[in-house]
Amino acid sequence: MKQTKKSFDVGNWLIPAIAVIIAMAIAGVMMKLQGADPVGAYKTLFTTSFGSAKGFSATLGKATPLVLVGLAVTIGLRAGLFNIGAQGQLISGALGTAWAGYTFTGLPSYIHLPIAIAFGMFFGAFVGFIAGALKAYRGVHEVITTIMLNSIIMGLSDYLVVYHFREPGQLLTRTSEIQKSARLPFLFGLPFGFFIAIALAVLAWWVMANTTSGFRFETVGRNKFAAWYAGISVKRTLVTAMIISGGIAGLGGAIETLGVTYRFEPAFNAGLGFDGITIALLGRAHPLGIIPGAILIGGMRAGASNMQFVAGVATELVDLLMALILFFVTAPLVTRFFKNSTSKSVTGGWGN
């Protein structure tokens, strides 16, 4: 008789916490080797991002798309899908939203914003749908298709911005700026998008834990044979999961466009989708667990340049930290050591 455990509990926070601590220790040693002061660097990093209202607001701004892509990957993992394509879905969403943001004019904000957001979610969802349908009806593994779709979307979005959507008279490859009516406001000095992201994460948690649709997702993710036996349409569930996952990633791109960048520029969003994988694993594929993970990593991203300025540590340190965190979260050795199990991966068998 093992632990008493609900099907949908908060999960084990110990491994992520230890992963972060070990990653920071190793990164600290590397800073020391470079002749920098790790304690000072970390202090600067975190006082910049969490020490002031302004800094915290910036942190939440950085964390917003991370919550969403983390959530996108999490939804996939819950249904047994490893969505590596959050990056492509996010870019599709960002471009769609930017187009809607600068093309429609003369709309009031309360109409323009939802339309622009809907564009982003639609394109993200569509890209997710392609991978989901290929998985469900043709048996093509989603890791393959989403990786390939990432490349296709990158190329396609570059092409579109260079030849069709480029700001008139602009030498840089970027779209026009979105209308003022499509800009996301600030609420209590905090970016509005962050509230959307948190609300969605809470909603996702509630849906997964309390609704029949959530139960379908979970069942397919944990044992698709039993799901089929129990009368659940596995194929439809897989496609739906990819549509929702892609839609949420697309929303991440939309909010980034409407609240931060105000336009689409190909290099702007690089890597956000991949951070989502780290965050989803750090949050142990729990819709609420990803929030602290996203804020932590958002804070590191927000404080990185000041850390470079004050402590002389390159901003790439944050990438190093992310890589180390990902490594230790997924490293089976760590998992085995603390969970005393040999067969379970960090996602508890999801996503393979």
Binding site: T4, S7, R222, N223, A226, G231
Partner: protein
């Protein structure tokens, strides 16, 4: 000359199961010995012990007169024991030659000597009369040919004793005939053969001697000369466990489940259910007896919407069920205890409570519209755990924490907790402890007495005979006879199971 393989008094106890109970067996050169038994009879435990993969509690294994130690798998292989696995150990994208030499490649400096490799394969193929194309890519070959490659691979290391594990499970009838010929030829060339199977006619055709295993015990040696298929079937299914079931005579009502002209393909796309007609009435248990692999699984899956029907109809209370989806079949009133509870019956990482509503989670009272009613799920679970005596500290524990018998109780409880019309129970007590078997049997009878029609499919003849009101015998994808269980004669049923006309 000493025997190739000599096993004396082998005993192996696993937690809760005596897998091998004092088994002795010897195999001489040039002899084909069949190990016959149902799933779970202890055949694979025995073979694993020969390879040193499990440590016997008692007993001794000698190969060519030398005692083999536990863990010395390499020594066993070096002594000339080869194995052909049921699931081929081949690399599909590589050629026949590459597959056969894999692991011990002839080399020239740092490179594989492809020329001599090819010659080796051709020589091997000629020596044993097993024709293969050394350059063909394995995945392009038919299954029977792939198996030939597997056999050649095993023979390459100068094998004296070859063990074949359920070699015909994946073959077509024609390929089976060819394989049996190959086995005979190998034996004639001096190789000792152990053939693991539960198919009677193969044993009759090719074996010199037969060891029948049942429930870990050696029931006895016989040979095709001394016995016939009916005799083998009876030894295999046995009468060891006399299961007492108290039941009143059935009071059959109207037909509940009607199956008309059902035809179903198996995984190899061969017709395995060849036109089955059955009627099960309300308030009766119809048992389907048969040696496994005669279409029972495919029939059950087709009735329950998990497998496509190529022809035929399934009616519940006179109404046609919609084809093809477990959901609609379930909605029509058919409950299903699946044969493979780990794969289909349970989600191991869910709580017992969630598993108890696995196919009712989206219905009243467990859900209202889109929202699940978790408190109903919990109270249902507490009640069922109590009622079905599921041994667990809490219904909120994971299903994976339960023993086999208690897992099966969860499945049975779920399928019975509804107001059901038809219950299809496939191997409802497989791998279940005796106490749970009795409990499950009583539950099936209680369901019958409440008016359900029960279609019971089991490989255990005892179970069929003690539970059923009528017995249908299935053989070769057809129902060959239906008899009243009161005047069911075990020998007669055994002969029918073996595919003989009365």
């Amino acid at each position: 000359m000493s025997d190739l393989l000599e096993i004396t008094g082998l005993t192996k106890q696993f937690p809760g199961v005596l897998a091998n109970d004092d088994i002795s067996l010897s195999v001489k050169a040039g002899e084909v010995v069949a190990l016959l038994g149902e799933n779970g009879a202890g055949k694979s435990t025995l073979v694993k012990a020969v390879f040193g993969l499990i440590k016997p509690d008692k007993g001794e294994i000698k190969i060519s007169g030398n005692v083999m130690a536990y863990g010395d798998t390499a020594g066993v292989i070096a002594a000339g024991v080869g194995m052909v696995h049921q699931h081929f150990q081949l690399v599909p994208v590589m050629s026949v030659t590459e597959n056969i030499i894999l692991g011990d490649e002839p080399r020239k400096a740092f490179f594989i000597d492809r020329k001599s490799a090819r010659e080796q394969v051709l020589a091997l193929s000629e020596r044993y009369g097993l024709e293969v194309d050394p350059d063909a890519i394995v995945e392009d070959l038919p299954v029977g040919m792939q198996q030939r490659v597997e056999i050649l691979k095993a023979l390459r290391k100068d094998v004296k004793l070859l063990i074949l594990d359920e070699p015909t499970a994946v073959l077509t009838p024609l390929e089976i005939d060819e394989l049996l010929g190959v086995i005979r030829n190998l034996a004639n060339s001096g190789v000792g053969i152990v053939l693991i199977t539960h198919k009677l006619h193969e044993v009759m055709e090719v074996a010199d001697r037969v060891l029948v295993l049942r429930g870990g015990k050696a029931i006895g040696f016989t040979s095709p000369k001394e016995s016939d298929e009916a005799g083998l079937a009876q030894m295999m299914v046995g009468r060891s466990v006399i299961l007492r079931v108290d039941k009143t005579p059935a009071k059959p009502g109207k037909p509940a489940l009607e199956i008309r002209g059902l035809q179903v393909l198996d995984d190899r796309k061969l017709l395995s259910v060849k036109g089955v007609d059955l009627i099960v009435h309300h308030g009766e248990i119809l048992g389907v007896a048969g040696v496994e692999g005669n279409g029972q699984r495919e029939m059950v899956e087709a009735i329950c919407g998990m497998r496509h029907r190529t022809a035929g109809q399934v009616l519940v209370d006179g109404e046609l069920t919609k084809d093809m989806h477990p959901h609609s079949v379930h909605a029509a009133g058919i409950s299903h205890i699946p044969e493979d509870r780990e794969k289909h019956g349970l989600v191991a990482s869910y709580t017992i409570a969630d598993n108890l509503v696995l196919n009712q989670f989206d219905r009243e009272p467990f859900a209202k519209g889109w929202v699940r009613n978790i408190s109903q799920v919990t109270s249902n679970a507490d009640q069922v755990v109590e009622e079905f005596d599921i041994r667990t500290p809490s219904a909120q524990n994971l299903a994976s924490s339960l023993s086999g018998g208690n897992k099966q109780k969860v499945v049975v409880a779920r399928e019975l907790s509804e107001d059901l019309k038809v219950l299809v129970a496939a191997q409802p007590t497989r791998g279940v402890d005796v106490g749970s078997i009795e409990f499950i049997h009583n539950q099936l009878i209680a369901a019958r007495d409440r008016g359900a029609a029960v279609l019971l499919v089991s490989a255990e003849l005892d179970e069929i005979l003690s539970l059923s009101d009528r017995v249908a015998v299935m053989s070769g994808g057809k129902i060959v006879a239906i008899v009243d269980s009161k005047n069911a004669d075990r020998n007669y049923i055994g002969r029918l199971m073996a595919g003989m006309k009365s």
